[in-house]
């Protein structure tokens, strides 16, 4: 198994506060890694830094994606290389029709990779196919991006993009937040359908519940900006029983 994502001794600051204090993590192709941890442990910061969100200062360490220095790339270059962040709170973009957005984004990624534009029939066919699988009404795509979507619809729209763009690394930031059990199941099924030997996942979650639907290969516990424990999927269940307090004590 070859490494897809390697995070080595990553230290990150926001303004004057250090959030990540030397985080190390390796995700291989074909693996699903879950990152669990209490609020404020730095889980979302990690996802934002991998995707290239402005406002974070990396003071030490590195992030390699398929061996390349990810931190040297613009957010759109990372997307074109195959990094996908499913947002915890997908934004609403009034005035930009979802269909137009999907097509522009897909073609921008293809262009950056030196591939030609996807033809309209191929694009429509693909969208239709994914929509059917994710139970997304086509009407939704005529509306502004996420405008007036329910929490479940927004998350499904993220999974739809994941399926369309076919990234090699998917980071799911608190995908379960704000979802009822049915919406969660649909979104998780969408993710599971994308699991392939070439693709890696980082599933960030506060609760164990999501991991009943997306079964991880590795579970990491984050506390105070570091990975404090790693283990198999049974670690998540253990956490459900005993909570995060033990790790917070250890880190303190």
């Amino acid at each position: 198994m070859s490494a897809l994502l390697e995070v080595n001794n990553l230290k990150v600051r926001v303004e004057d506060r250090e959030i990540l204090h030397g985080l190390t993590l390796t995700v291989n192709k074909g693996q699903v890694h879950a990152i669990m941890g209490p609020n404020g442990s730095g889980k979302s910061t990690l996802s934002h830094v991998i995707a290239g969100k402005p406002g974070y200062e990396v003071t030490d360490g590195e992030i390699l994606f398929e061996g390349e220095d990810l931190l040297a790339m613009e957010p759109d270059e990372r997307a074109a290389k195959g990094v996908f962040l499913a947002f915890q709170y997908p934004v609403e973009i009034p005035g930009v029709a979802t269909m137009n957005f999907l097509r522009t984004a897909l073609n921008a990624q293809r262009k950056a990779r030196g591939e030609g534009e996807m033809s309209t029939p191929d694009f429509l066919k693909k969208v239709r196919e994914v929509c059917t699988r994710l139970n997304i009404p086509q009407d939704m795509l005529k509306r502004g991006v996420n405008v007036g979507f329910s929490g479940g619809e927004k998350k499904r729209n993220e999974v739809l993009q994941m399926a369309l763009f076919e990234p090699s690394l998917c980071i799911l930031d608190e995908m379960d937040s704000g979802l009822d059990i049915d919406a969660l199941r649909i979104a998780a099924d969408g993710v599971n359908a994308l699991r392939t030997p070439d693709r890696g996942f980082v599933v960030i979650t506060h609760y164990q519940r999501l991991l009943n639907y997306i079964i991880p290969d590795v579970v990491h516990v984050m506390s105070n900006g570091r990975v404090v424990k790693s283990g198999g999927k049974e670690l998540a269940l253990e956490l459900e029983e005993s909570g995060y307090a033990q790790f917070e004590d250890k880190a303190a």
């Binding site: 759109d76 934004v91 005035g95 921008a108």
Partner: protein, 439 residues
């Protein structure tokens, strides 16, 4: 600062401007008298400046310096250049009435459809059998000094009538083409819709290749008879060193529908002032527009609504996209008269600032003398939303493309209010052209 400069300086209006132009201004007797009185009014007040409240943000004295001499009537070469400019218009499928350098060009214009009458303003003003012809130049309703200037110097225009119940299929399209440089072009046009009539009016302001630094001074006077419906679109695409000072004076009859949209991408200095008066009950006016400004452009939209009768409603939304060190001005005034109960008036402005030096000024004013009304106004001014930009970039859009997509969305929402498909597309094209020139 030199205080003397702030005082009105009527001497900066070249007195020979009117004297030089007089011989070729159509109309004798009462028309000539009215022109002389209008010019005297203008000469006494001079170009408006920042100490005149209505012109506070658009100091024409500072922006224009002075008015340029009146353009000569276009010659054959000018008409040929105008024709070339017409061939490039985005708006097609309309009945075009073309004014070149302020003079109606019959050879470039279409014939009016059935139910539509068309006359040149100059011909009406010279028709001595018409005892009320001078009324066409009266300006007392607005009291605005630039409307007085326009009355003094308007060389021509079109006077359009749509008969009761007539519904001309093609939009009526007044096209202003400038072919000369360093001149003033003054026009005044009229549109009267009969009862139950339905029409679309388009006004385009364009430049022939090679024309620079001119000043357009236009006025359009519109009346809607009871139950009439008017869609109105104006596109200001003048040369980037030109000025466009335009006034619309609109009177709405009972149960009328008036939907107007103005898009300004051109002109170094522009001011669009619309005076809309509700004269009959149960009328509805929707007044929208957008300024797209860059470099050192200055664009002003000033709307004055008079709710003079009960049970009417008005909706205003003006947007602005301002880049570089450009400046957008919105002034919206709503007057609700004592009898105008059940008035429902809403006014909104949204400005998108794309640079640190860009500026948007908003001045809403509500003057309400009735006690049973709904009136509101709101304004937002801000930069592109960082969280939206990041979302788009995380999906693969390079920075410029992500910005363009968000600007287009902001513009598109405004343009959506244009009912006619082809006119909406023409406005979109104008906006896209602006956006492309930016990146």
């Amino acid at each position: 600062m030199n205080v003397a400069l702030l005082k009105p300086a009527p001497e900066r209006v070249p007195n020979d401007l009117f004297a030089d132009a007089r011989s070729r201004l159509p109309g004798t007797g009462p028309v000539a008298d009215l022109r002389a009185a209008s010019f005297a009014d203008f000469a006494a007040r001079g170009l408006p400046h920042r100490r005149i409240e209505e012109w506070k943000y658009t100091d024409l004295r500072a922006l224009l310096g002075q008015v340029a001499p009146l353009a000569a009537a276009p010659d054959e070469a000018a008409l040929a250049r105008a024709k070339a400019a017409l061939a490039k218009l985005d708006v097609t499928g309309t009945a075009r009435f073309v004014l070149v350098d302020g003079v109606f060009a019959a050879e470039l214009s279409d014939a009016p459809a059935a139910g539509v009458t068309l006359r040149r303003l100059s011909a009406v003003l010279e028709d001595e059998t018409n005892t009320v012809r001078a009324d066409l130049l009266r300006t007392n309703a607005t009291g605005d000094v630039m409307v007085a200037f326009n009355a003094a110097l308007a060389t021509d225009g079109v006077v359009i009538g749509v008969a009761d119940g007539a519904k001309p299929e093609k939009p009526l399209h007044i096209v202003h083409v400038a072919t000369q440089s360093a001149v003033s072009i003054a026009t005044r046009s009229f549109l009267q819709l009969g009862k139950n009539a339905q029409a679309t009016l388009v006004e385009s302001f364009v430049t022939a290749d090679g024309a620079h630094d001119y000043q357009t001074h236009d006025a359009v006077v519109i009346w809607l008879g009871d139950d009439a419906v008017l869609e109105h679109v104006r596109l200001v695409e003048d040369a980037h060193d030109a000025a466009n000072i335009s006034t619309a004076i609109v009177t709405l009859g009972a149960k009328t529908r008036f939907n107007t949209f103005s898009i300004t991408t051109g002109a170094h200095v522009s001011r669009y002032q619309a005076f809309v008066r509700f004269n009959g009950e149960e009328a509805h006016a929707s007044i929208n527009g957008i300024n797209l400004l860059k470099e050192r452009q200055h664009g002003d939209a000033t709307l004055v609504l008079d709710h003079a009768v009960p049970n009417c409603d008005s909706r205003e939304e003006f947007r602005a996209v301002v880049d570089d060190s450009a400046r957008s001005v919105f002034q919206g005034r709503i007057n609700v008269h004592p009898d105008a109960q059940k008035t429902d008036a809403k006014m909104m402005t949204r400005a998108l600032l794309l640079s640190d030096e860009a500026e948007a000024d908003n001045k809403p004013e509500l003057e309400i003398f009735a006690d049973d009304v709904t009136c509101g106004h709101g304004a937002t001014t801000g930069a592109l939303d960082d969280s939206l930009l990041f979302y788009l970039r995380a999906r693969g859009l390079p920075e410029k493309e992500a910005q363009a997509m968000l600007i287009q969305a902001f513009v598109g929402e405004a343009i959506e209010t244009i009912a006619d498909d082809s006119l909406r597309e023409a406005a979109e094209t104008a906006a896209e052209r602006w956006l492309k020139a930016r990146s």
